[in-house]
């Protein structure tokens, strides 16, 4: 049971952290609970489908299907988060006039709520499909139902608890800075996801490394540790990244921050540039 709980916990934690940030970013939006629940439900459904289709995915692209699929899911989430933060920035000006009125601030957020629902669904799908395969593996190993269910309950419980801790921690940020803070967290989250996508593409030999193991800080904080994993999700921490990961990280940061600034200009045209996160050089304003 401890083994089951530990793995389930780690996967749930990754998804829970992302869900917490998304929940904070959509604070007060009417119907948010429904969207979040729908995102999680869709993600779980998707996780089962992906786990069932794992064999077919593995065969794709001469054996690189899994990496390409993971990278695709991550990059899709990056684009959606990018879209949301740029969109939020475009409306920051009008929101500012109603400063203090949370309802206003979040009315703006609701329009891209669907995007964030998809981000939640993708996060749950990615982590969930791994859990499904793991549980299948455990069940084959003859673990009893009690051990399996107990492990799942403990793992999910602890992961969700930490997610809530982050969420309520974020809620303590003063309202005046609240959406700047959640936007910043979304940008860092997106940059980290992009770096993760680069890692998968590198693992499949689809991208040049641009330098493997540029540095190694695993003596300080290893990728396997709880803190390392948590920071890995929140800000894209990697103890020994490859150059291509840094490139994806930096390009995402530049494009999103540039896009936010550009969108926040007075009388900004209604275009976003969130789609340009696939390793394309950012079009700076």
């Amino acid at each position: 049971m401890p083994g089951v709980a530990l793995l389930v916990f780690r996967e749930v934690l990754e998804a829970a952290l992302i869900i917490s940030i998304v929940c904070a970013a959509t604070r007060g939006v009417r119907g948010r609970g429904f969207y979040v629940a729908a995102g999680i439900a869709l993600g779980l459904l998707g996780a089962i489908v992906v786990a069932l289709g794992a064999g077919a995915i593995a065969e794709l692209a001469s054996g690189s299907g899994q990496e390409l699929f993971n990278a695709g899911v991550l990059l899709a989430a990056v684009v959606m988060i990018g879209w949301h933060v740029v969109w939020m920035s475009r409306h920051a000006r009008e929101l500012a006039r109603h400063m203090g009125a949370v309802g206003q601030a979040v009315k703006a957020g609701s329009s891209s709520l669907t995007l964030l629902l998809a981000v939640i669904a993708l996060a749950v799908l990615r982590e969930g499909s791994e859990v499904v395969l793991f549980l299948y593996s455990m069940a084959m190993g003859g673990i009893g139902a009690a051990g399996l269910i107990g492990g799942i309950a403990l793992g999910v419980g602890c992961g969700v608890l930490l997610g809530f801790a982050l969420y309520f921690g974020l809620l303590r940020i003063p309202l005046r800075h609240f959406f700047s803070a959640t936007n910043a967290m979304l940008v860092l989250l997106a940059a980290g996801l992009a770096s993760g996508a680069a890692r998968f593409l590198l693992q499949a030999n689809r991208l040049p490394a641009l330098g493997e193991q540029l540095w190694d800080t695993s003596w300080l904080l290893s990728n396997g540790s709880l803190a390392g994993k948590t920071l890995g999700v929140l800000v894209g921490y990697d103890a020994s990244p490859a150059g291509i990961q840094l490139a994806f990280y930096a390009v995402t940061l530049l494009v999103l921050l540039g896009g936010m600034r550009w969108a926040a200009r007075p009388a900004a045209p209604a275009r976003t540039e969130a789609a340009s996160t696939r390793g394309v050089a950012p079009a700076r304003p």
Binding site: A54, Q66, L133, F134, S137, Q203, L207, Q213, N223, A281
Partner: protein, 108 residues
């Protein structure tokens, strides 16, 4: 910026072209353990690890030290590109059975 994109495109092309010359190394998973548990690979070059899962249960081949993770389905094999690594010893494990599935990659 355009120059950067061009450089990236060229590198992408060369990486894809060089794929055939990557040396292969084989690992097997049997009874939730790696065979061999210690695998020597050359340092400083990219290598292709072919991981064969001979068990009836899925496994996840993972290393937080050389930064790779991939599900290996039952009775099938998969490949993971690693490195170029600096000389050293790198731990890898089967994430679904970490009690028994432990191994090391020795880059020298």
């Amino acid at each position: 910026m355009i120059r950067l994109v061009l450089a990236a495109a060229l590198l992408f092309g060369s990486a894809a072209a060089g794929a055939a010359e990557v040396p292969e190394f084989h690992l097997a998973i049997q009874d939730h353990a790696f065979q061999p548990a210690e695998l020597k690979v050359p340092a400083g070059v990219k290598v292709k690890l072919v991981v064969a899962n001979r068990d009836a249960a899925p496994e996840e081949f993972e290393s937080t030290e050389f930064n790779r993770e991939k599900i290996v389905l039952p009775n099938s094999s998969t490949s993971v590109y690693v490195g170029p690594l600096k000389p050293g010893s790198y731990r890898f494990f089967g994430d679904f059975h970490p009690d028994t599935a432990q191994g090391r990659l020795i880059a020298e």
